[in-house]
């Protein structure tokens, strides 16, 4: 496959377009790499250290100055503060309240409630609240004007 690189002047303008006959395993892993980076974050549970891939994370919550990372069925702790993680995570991670970051790719659907907030139902059935003041940023990340 021919690969072409074109430089842009802003981070917001970065995008990759793959033209292919079908989504092969190689292409899927390339998409995953481009969208989420190669990384993950170091997390802890019961004094054990784990490496959590970004694609596994559903949401991250800060409670009493401690940061908890939630995957499909597990909960880990991170030593990073929420704002530090916000910088490390990929474009699909967005702040939805003062104390929570959610992985947009793990949201099944959202529903608007009176008062301007929204409720997001995640793929594992959990519900999280999207504060009114963060809806605008969420729309921007999703490319909605």
């Amino acid at each position: 496959m021919r690969v072409r690189f074109e430089q842009v002047d802003e981070k917001e303008k970065e995008q990759a377009l793959i033209r292919a006959v079908e989504k092969t395993a190689d292409i899927l892993s390339a998409m995953d790499l481009l969208e989420n980076g190669s990384g993950g974050i170091q997390v802890f549970r019961d004094r054990n250290t784990f490496f959590c891939k970004l694609t596994q994370i559903y949401y991250i919550e800060s409670v009493d100055k401690r940061t908890y990372v939630y995957t499909k069925g597990d909960c880990f702790e991170s030593r990073d503060r929420l704002y530090e993680l916000e910088e490390k995570l990929g474009m699909y991670y967005v702040r939805i309240s003062k104390s929570m970051i959610v992985n947009l790719r793990k949201i099944r659907n959202v529903s608007a409630e009176p008062g301007g907030r929204m409720v997001a139902v995640l793929l594992n059935g959990e519900r999280v609240i999207i504060s009114r003041s963060y809806v605008k940023e969420m729309k921007r990340r999703l490319g909605i004007q």
């Binding site: 694609t55 009176p114 809806v135």
Partner: protein
């Protein structure tokens, strides 16, 4: 948003809305053959009422963090507080003179209040549709 900034913006918005409604009312009455004349104190009382009406906004602070019951109670209190301010200001500044005009002011107030909330909710529902549509294109398969 800072609460003082929110109150200031609302004061301006409410004052402008009252002036606009009065303007429309004056145009309609003019073409109906009954011109109305504003007194020297009417514009300033409209601005003052705008500021007073913005104060109950404190009741709606952090509205997106309440449960439904709290939301209903606070919005009801907000609505009643605004109604009391409008009726009180109207009586103080002589905006209405008889029971009939008081009744029409009351009906218009509640219709406008309900309309603003419904419009706001409708706009939120439009956002909901757009967001769900956008999420469909990036959702992980599990």
């Amino acid at each position: 948003m800072n609460i003082a900034k929110k109150i200031f913006i609302q004061s301006m918005a409410i004052s402008t809305a009252i002036l606009f409604l009065n303007g429309v009312n004056a145009v309609i009455r003019h073409f109906a053959g009954t011109d109305i004349t504003l007194q020297w104190y009417h514009p300033i009382t409209i601005v003052l009422t705008g500021v007073l009406c913005a104060l109950p906004t404190v009741l709606l602070r952090d509205e997106d963090q309440w449960d439904r019951k709290t939301f209903r109670i606070r919005v009801s209190l907000h609505c009643l507080a605004l109604y009391a301010i409008i009726i009180g200001a109207g009586r103080l500044f002589g905006w209405y003179t008889d029971w009939e005009s008081l009744l029409s002011v009351s009906i218009i107030f509640f219709l406008v209040y309900a309309f603003v909330w419904l419009l706001s909710h409708w706009l939120d529902k439009q956002d909901e549709k757009k967001i769900n549509h956008a999420l469909d294109t990036i959702r992980d398969e599990e």
